[in-house]
Symmetry: C2
Subunit: 331 residues, 2 copies
């Protein structure tokens, strides 16, 4: 590992140099072992400069208008002097509606703003994979001076949970339609939301949108709020017509103000750190089982026995764990 | 470990001796290290006699009438000559409606039937905990000659996923009411179901129940079936009035018949074995981090650093994994 290069890269990131930031994120995403070492050195280097942003998570099913929403809200923020980083899931690599528009025309107006950094992350097949590097990317963006970070995720699978677990404020976008069954929104996702927006509240859909708002306001009342003392507001917006976004910003500011008194964000981040470590240790250990040839072979042998019903998985697992680790207890 | 005692216990289980079966499950549930060794030896001993049953998973929110349903269906099965084991979550240890009735009056009629074995398992606080020993308990019950195993879980948290992952046929009980939001049923759970029953289709609720059935029939049509070629039927039943249960049994038999041609259950069990092993290895590794004093201390140190934002979790995790394992790769 070339520590000189890493230190130089860290310095440039702290100076807010966009190209270095982009290169550093590519380094984070690399799966090559030497890159991983450099990425970790870089993280250690920039960490003291990270943490000073509000992290917004944004989710919703494909077609709900996430890109349009991020573009509209982001533009307002950038124009009012904020430095905004948007970390999105690469639409070309998921079966999402976004792919239709193609990578380049997506958020065209926003991406050319000098105060804005947009980074699509390849999903790499697993939602866990995205999140793993997205957390680190947030830290780099913060070190580069971005004070608002938006993390976009598609509303499928486990990715919302991951993104909610790395952001301060989680926004759920819905389509105007009644009942969550139709929208494919899981109740669990609703429980994560700090703000629920019914998008496309314009033209023909306006009436349906208002009804959806009142449906969800009722539903939110039945749910234990994620943040004590904060009941997620449900608002109608039209990202396309740029309507209702002022209220969205107001809501975020109100959340921040409430937090300043209670220290909630700090507490949330501390808990997230604990959870992140657990997740990483888990992933690291499972990676070993999947990658280290000696362990892979062992795993396969046991797997055959377990699948054939000749060995209980608990017994096999104890043997495997004892073989993998230095523990005296497991053996 | 006393291998003689373990072998004797295994023999008695295979002879169908109820008290030995009960004692063996208690052994499985013990968290003491020497007991764990005995439990594993016992599992290895009875495993060849296990596997010959149909495993039914049953879930639904508290108050849906799971106990009444299991009692009614179970009684029919027992009366027709089946040997039935019911593994339930101990109602005294969860915040479920079942607790109101108390432990003893629950399924009173069923529990006194000579062909029936009922075992409540303490949840031990974590749904993962239940499932971990429940899988093993299924194997013991099968070795004891029970040809129908029912595993009951409350419709909250991750437990349905676990139970669906250890059973051949998964039944979801619903209340007569429209919309899944009201019922707290997660879409994901619906996707696991091989059969959906709207219970309490009697008296005043009959009309609502029929409407609920048609609502869910529609919803099921939108969902990719868990079992290829099997669209989950939605039926109205009244466990209390013993109505509609004949059709439930017919459906289970139809599923078994379809399986005999396609070998689906065998395939499902093989996949479940693989998943079970993964889960156990994961749990075993995480247990080490939580229990082995040396690792616990290490984990806490890193945790403090990560929570304070002084260390990236990825960096901490790699160090931890390398300390815990014998891997050359991680170090």
């Amino acid at each position: 590992m070339n520590t000189g290069i890493v230190r130089k890269l860290g310095e440039r990131i702290r100076q807010g140099e966009r190209r270095s930031l982009a290169r550093a994120i590519t380094l984070l995403e690399s799966t090559l072992d030497p890159h991983r070492g450099e990425a970790e050195a870089l993280l250690a280097d920039v960490l003291p400069a990270a943490g000073r942003s509000i992290r917004l998570g944004i989710t919703g099913v494909p077609g709900v208008g996430k890109s349009t929403f991020i573009e509209a809200l982001g533009y307002r923020l950038a124009e009012s002097g904020h430095r905004l980083a948007v970390l999105t899931i690469d639409p070309s690599s998921v079966i999402s509606g976004g792919a239709v528009l193609g990578d380049k025309t997506r958020m065209g107006k926003l991406s050319s703003h000098p105060g804005v950094f947009i980074r699509p992350s390849p999903t790499g097949g697993s939602s866990g994979g995205v999140a793993r590097r997205t957390r680190e990317s947030i830290l780099l963006c913060e070190a580069a001076g971005y004070d608002i970070i938006m993390v976009e995720t598609v509303g499928v699978g486990q990715s919302e949970l991951r993104v909610a677990g790395m952001t301060d404020f989680f926004i759920l976008l819905l389509l105007p339609a009644s009942g969550d069954e139709l929208q494919g929104i899981k109740r669990g996702v609703m429980e994560l939301a700090d703000l629920i927006l019914v998008n496309k509240a314009d033209g023909d859909l306006d009436t349906v949108a208002r009804r959806t708002v009142s449906d969800y306001q009722q539903a939110v009342g039945l749910i234990q709020p994620r943040t004590p003392g904060w009941k997620a507001p449900v608002l109608a917006v039209s990202a396309l017509q740029d309507e209702g976004l002022g209220k969205v910003l107001e809501t975020i500011h109100r959340f921040q103000a409430q937090d300043r008194e209670s220290g909630l964000i700090e507490q949330r981040r501390s808990e997230q750190g604990r959870e992140w470590l657990r997740q990483e240790v888990h992933d690291g250990l499972m990676d070993l089982c999947n990658r280290e040839p000696e362990f892979v072979q062992l795993f396969r042998q046991f797997e055959t026995e377990v699948c054939a019903g000749r060995l209980a998985a608990t017994v096999a697992a104890r043997k495997l764990v004892s073989d993998i680790t230095r523990s005296k207890r497991a053996s």
